[in-house]
Symmetry: C3
Subunit: 662 residues, 3 copies
Amino acid sequence: MSIGVCYYPEQWSQERWETDVREMAAAGFEYVRLAEFSWGRLEPERNTFDFEWLDEIVALVGDHGMNVVLCTPTASPPRWLLDEHPEIRQTDRDGTVRAGGSRREYCVNSSRYRVETERVVRELANRYADTSHVVGWQIDNEYGCHDTARCYCADCDGAFRDWLAERYGDADGLNDAWGTTFWSQQYDSVEQASVPAPTPAQDHPSLVLDYCRFCSDSIVAYNRLQAELLREYGDWFVTHNFMDRFPAIDLYNIADDLDLLSWDSYPTGHVQATDGQPTPDQLKAGDPDLISFNHDLHRGVLERPFWVMEQQPGDINWPPHSPQPAEGAMRLWAHHAVAHGADAVVYFRWRRCLHGQEQYHAGLRKRDGSPDRGYHDAARAAEELFDVGNVDASVALLHDYENVWALSEQPHAPDFDYWALVQSFYRALRARGVQVAVVHPTTDLSEYGAVVAPTLHIATEDLTDHLTEYVASGGELLLGPRTGVKDEGNKLRPASPPGPLSSLVGATVTHYETVPDQFDRTVVVNGTRYAVRTWAERLDADAAVPVVEYTGNELNGSTAGVRNAVGDGHVVYCGVWPEQELADDLVDTLLTRSGVDHADRLPNGVRAAVRDNHTWVLNFTSDRIDVETDAEWSIGSARIDPFDLAVADRDLLDGLTVNKRA
Amino acid sequence: MSIGVCYYPEQWSQERWETDVREMAAAGFEYVRLAEFSWGRLEPERNTFDFEWLDEIVALVGDHGMNVVLCTPTASPPRWLLDEHPEIRQTDRDGTVRAGGSRREYCVNSSRYRVETERVVRELANRYADTSHVVGWQIDNEYGCHDTARCYCADCDGAFRDWLAERYGDADGLNDAWGTTFWSQQYDSVEQASVPAPTPAQDHPSLVLDYCRFCSDSIVAYNRLQAELLREYGDWFVTHNFMDRFPAIDLYNIADDLDLLSWDSYPTGHVQATDGQPTPDQLKAGDPDLISFNHDLHRGVLERPFWVMEQQPGDINWPPHSPQPAEGAMRLWAHHAVAHGADAVVYFRWRRCLHGQEQYHAGLRKRDGSPDRGYHDAARAAEELFDVGNVDASVALLHDYENVWALSEQPHAPDFDYWALVQSFYRALRARGVQVAVVHPTTDLSEYGAVVAPTLHIATEDLTDHLTEYVASGGELLLGPRTGVKDEGNKLRPASPPGPLSSLVGATVTHYETVPDQFDRTVVVNGTRYAVRTWAERLDADAAVPVVEYTGNELNGSTAGVRNAVGDGHVVYCGVWPEQELADDLVDTLLTRSGVDHADRLPNGVRAAVRDNHTWVLNFTSDRIDVETDAEWSIGSARIDPFDLAVADRDLLDGLTVNKRA
Amino acid sequence: MSIGVCYYPEQWSQERWETDVREMAAAGFEYVRLAEFSWGRLEPERNTFDFEWLDEIVALVGDHGMNVVLCTPTASPPRWLLDEHPEIRQTDRDGTVRAGGSRREYCVNSSRYRVETERVVRELANRYADTSHVVGWQIDNEYGCHDTARCYCADCDGAFRDWLAERYGDADGLNDAWGTTFWSQQYDSVEQASVPAPTPAQDHPSLVLDYCRFCSDSIVAYNRLQAELLREYGDWFVTHNFMDRFPAIDLYNIADDLDLLSWDSYPTGHVQATDGQPTPDQLKAGDPDLISFNHDLHRGVLERPFWVMEQQPGDINWPPHSPQPAEGAMRLWAHHAVAHGADAVVYFRWRRCLHGQEQYHAGLRKRDGSPDRGYHDAARAAEELFDVGNVDASVALLHDYENVWALSEQPHAPDFDYWALVQSFYRALRARGVQVAVVHPTTDLSEYGAVVAPTLHIATEDLTDHLTEYVASGGELLLGPRTGVKDEGNKLRPASPPGPLSSLVGATVTHYETVPDQFDRTVVVNGTRYAVRTWAERLDADAAVPVVEYTGNELNGSTAGVRNAVGDGHVVYCGVWPEQELADDLVDTLLTRSGVDHADRLPNGVRAAVRDNHTWVLNFTSDRIDVETDAEWSIGSARIDPFDLAVADRDLLDGLTVNKRA
């Protein structure tokens, strides 16, 4: 388990490099990421490459016993290339061409940019093919950042038509898949189709879903181009640094071309991008469940350890507010990542940059080069971390991108956010310390003691068979609302929801509605009342037993959720969007019924995680906490300070109890 | 009084048609609306028409004893036409061309689209000219929906210049009418004028008013083109389905080309588009006064019964929230429409469509074809409804579109919304059960016991004479604030408001101001204090008697409203925007003074309406109510359940008392 | 001290002119501003000038003993010019060209518009060169109004490159100044640079700062063109009417070309444009500190009396709300302006205009030409005002535009508004009745008893020397947060803040953060606790003594502000954004230590000001107030009514006490 750092030597004078590299090594770092946005420096004019500076810094890193992760520099084309080939740039939906002057202005479907990409990647890969301590590559940087995953340029428009022709053959196939008799939208030819454009009313939802698929596929293809080039030259690992719950790229597709997944973790920023008001503690250290959801997702996709390729080093520039992280938070985040399956945590960045767009983003070192708090935290984490096997999750949480796209085009309720719904179930699992594998619904589920599917809005017959087999073989499945509504074309299924899953669930939805604040939609489960928000279904139970019922007003006694026994297992279907307390109740029951090991309910902001028989207890709060255990601790102790942690070298999860100190 | 339904056979397999039509007939429906967006199906390629499918369904409807209302399909040009003639599309103010992919992307001023319109309308009209049970036509669909009433394309720009030349002759006429010495805006020629464009500061208000007139006139002309074509072929009725208080089309102009007006009623959606937070009951059944204002407007324009051409069938897709309508609401709406003068209520639509933009919009039948709640409600309404004469309104409410346009360009106060001001007076009348004719100010008023003009911002000398004659002959007139401010060119009148009406009112406005929340603007009427919002005038009473006075702070004792005796009648001028309680007080006094029959103040959400000696009492609340009467009820009884209604076959209005049950 | 009025004879019939001018003279007015937007009237077609109307009105004004201020009419090019040369128009950042139809649509960098400007200015200036009572000129009108200070047209793009080449020489100079190694933004040539464009991520902050400088310089150059032309023809004064705290023009630069500064004062509008909810009194008379900040700024720039070129005459059209000003407010504003250094107050405008965009803006005369409240107030002010020397300010407040631009591009905290920070310190000074010179940081400070610098975000070594010299010589300096962060290129300084000022301050900033609402950031000063908002720094005191300390939570006891003794003076550095109470505390201490005369804390909305040994006490509240003094009053008395004032002919400031009457 290693610590690394991102370094931009091109931003500093050459005399400083040796000092910097020496102090990286002194902190126990093992990886240095280099060359990320350096195309302008590497190729100052067309076909004139300047590798000397990079050779030197790569050598310096090696000389100090560290490894290098190189980046392909394609996220920022140099100015001369933009001037020479302005057609490489993206176009907004309203026709505005995205200009240079920042980054990510290029279109992945630009054939010219693909040529240029191949040229620069070959040069770089060839240059370092024989440098043994160059161990891996990050392709490009944060695909889709700054809303660049969707482009509407002529290249995209043409590529979209090709994509549709490939998928549907001809106009008949397209008309069938989308349903185009509505509003005279029939195609005579696939050539009439185009990317979404400023039409007076809403877009056709089937067009939108396919456009989302196409945009993701376009990034997958562009990434594959680079991955394959890199593999021609060396036996290094290839990855990309993804972002917090990034909605526009299907990780399950792109992962096929990568050796490992990595993501960029900025806890105090991400927590400000979610609904609701973060607490002061969350503003200082993030929401552990939001962070670890990303860990578990980037681990779950390949079922393999992941990297944090950029770890927040201190205060950052882009969220609404830029609080100072709590004392020790930078160390806490490293341990937290490792507890959830990270093999390396790479801090972004070595030193605060004096110029450009990210001046207000800290580094491990201050602007004057002296160590900042992050440096000390990172060094301590480097010292403490130890090698450990992979995470063995007991519960699978089903997640996929087609549902993200379909539901974000037609949320129907103003606050129907796919990620928030997923998070309510995920948080309930993590409040019990359970390790969760975030996986695609089609994943083999046989190893999981329980499965939670927050929503399977789009559901196929194959998926139905897959889940039925899991349950019938003794699996315990918890299904959330708005499931089984759509087919793969984003058309309504003719059968009432949950459509193909109705027999598995043992009930159907007779009506659904969105829940405005003015409504009182309360349900009762085993005598306890819970508030409902956002979405409420009324069920007609068939084989199933009602377990969630409306109470009060005109819905009193009608069914909101059911449990069905199927073969050796059970499925629970909850037809309402649960507030956290209801999600907790449903998950607690699931864990108990499935016999999955779990802790007592952990305090908010306190989390436990077991990886390979080591137990981490992590305190994301400003309170002191006590762990009730006789276990020995290899790091810390049972009395844990604010924003501190403890590690024991055995599995303490079952029945683990942690209390806030009075 | 008939029930009908909108049907889209092109969205369903042919095998299903007979079942569907049979069950429409079984429910007692009398009308089926067809072919609304079917151009792509009717003419799959240029000049190749396919009528067979439509012939078949038209015949089926006739075979089952029902009539057909056909639609011209011009609201959605087929894709091949857009490809062939992209110039038919609209352009936004910022120059963005509106693309295909939804509907309403065409411009009514496109000469090419008018040619295409004529072609397709002639084909259709000719085809069904001899089919006797094709009894009427809906032209196009919801003109102006999705913000398409205003276009800025080159065709519109040229047509606007022609319109100006026609109206004003030359530049001198234009300069005089608008007043262009301000900011060097003089025209040397009408050819220099153009539609509004992205200029740094506000637009010239006179340009805006004329542009609004022009846009409305353009739609009127396009509608006339279709109406005249249809009349060449048959003796059927011609209508258009308008929308909730749609501001961009002057109904009083377009109505001249129509045999009857119809509108599309979606109570749970419209109520979410008004200011303020709807109550739970309103979310489930709408605001009866908002619904009936539209009924009374679409009846008032032609002083003739109207149709509801689309009646909400269940939950819908487009408002922020999509609650399930209350039990029985779909029946309640049908009765409510009839009580206010509807001759037919046509539900939109037969069955929830599986594809396209409106999947989240219910039909009378569920997605699987089985009956939904709306079907049962509609069938019950069809069984209950009976033939009845037209509504005989006792009070006229003066309303027009030039005031809508002038005030929406220069609201001056952030919350000065014409419709809200109108609604406060309308609601006060309806709270007393009074039938209201919403009519143009120039209408003959001699038959009305009282007249309410919420505002006559633009007022002419002719209008002054018209109103003075009404009052002098014994009429009772209630005038709202901001009256008599502007001339027809949207210029200020040189005289203080109410300008030409000053002599009728017997007072002038010395100052006005908008009322921010921080201000305490309270008035007193007959000893009762009322809060004022939005707009407050200070009056100088001349012949008139002060009846509304400010109380408290620096305005204490100054005049906010007056009453003037003129001939045999009276005019009351209220110079403040009344909160509901003040509007109620003013209206109650008006009804008493004029001797118009009225009920005791009805509870919120409970309404009574008399049509042709039948009295409806309608309960839009979740409370039970009791009517204090010995009358016999032909439908229901004096004890009315939530969202239910009762009908008596005589006029119960005068002194009618309804109570919420404890 | 004179009163004047803005008159637009072109908007009224010629028969009315004599009446109007006679009544201006009767009110004691001394100046009439003419011809402001009259290009269309002066030159109805190219090269055909019509001066007769203007000759006549100019003569009329002179005949009645008043002087004329003429305006160059360039703020509104005539329609024929726009048609002939559409390239003179501005372009928005997204490429939209700004159309005619209002005003200010021209670009100052259009070479064609400069030619046209020269043409019309020469004609006008030549015409009135020998008219002795034409005493001055206002160039154009409100540069930058309606967001027109920033243009992105091709002319601007080219001019920006020239500006960069002039400033930096070549690409190396540019790359150094901006720091372009970040995100591959290196320039090979200055010719590659361009104005900001729609790039996916943020703009480069150094580009933005230079673009802001360039835009200001462009307006300065355009203004100079006109000023120099006017000076060729006559010995009149030349000014421009600036706007409330207008951020886009560097007054310190443009002032070099002007004889006096003037600004347009609309108190009830400006107060609605600031954060927070204005009080009812502020809605009726404005915030006196907001008004006088502008007075003190426009006086401070040239250290010379200024004019109010447009004074609000009554209700106005452009803010969200348009309350009626309080009784007497129009007189109060005139006195207030004079007390702060105005030599003339010119009311906008004579009469409410019946047409065009500003119909809802009052004049001194009503729409029918009769006197409105403003006329009586203005006449009374004209009668009361007397000649008086200039203001002698005892405290300098340092202010400049480069900090406005840098901080508005990177506010970092959502509510870090430069003007609000400045205002908190300014308000504290005014609450003590102290006259403040708002001056550029490089101004000679030796005459000021104390200096307040709310923030010096960009700070140079020269500025450091300048301030150090002031303090060392016995000056008392109060420095606000976020000082010494940036260099002139808008790059971070390598040294921790306050960078070059660290030695003067005797402390450095170790960390800073923004303060979300959820945070408790409280400081203690001399035992009193104060809340902190927006911005909080943690200081490491070196030579300095901590005087502001955090209290509570994890920051308890750490340093937020320091005092350092340097030579014969002191500097206090406050590293947090002060709520008003903390600013008051810091300023009170400063005044005491520096021995600057000051009043007891004045009630909110009550202000005192001394100019040349006359003391004004001004009541901007609806309360009655009492001044505790035995002084004789030349205007009013010690008991001051709501929105009234009193003047004594000696300096009463030191120890002045004013109380609200119970």
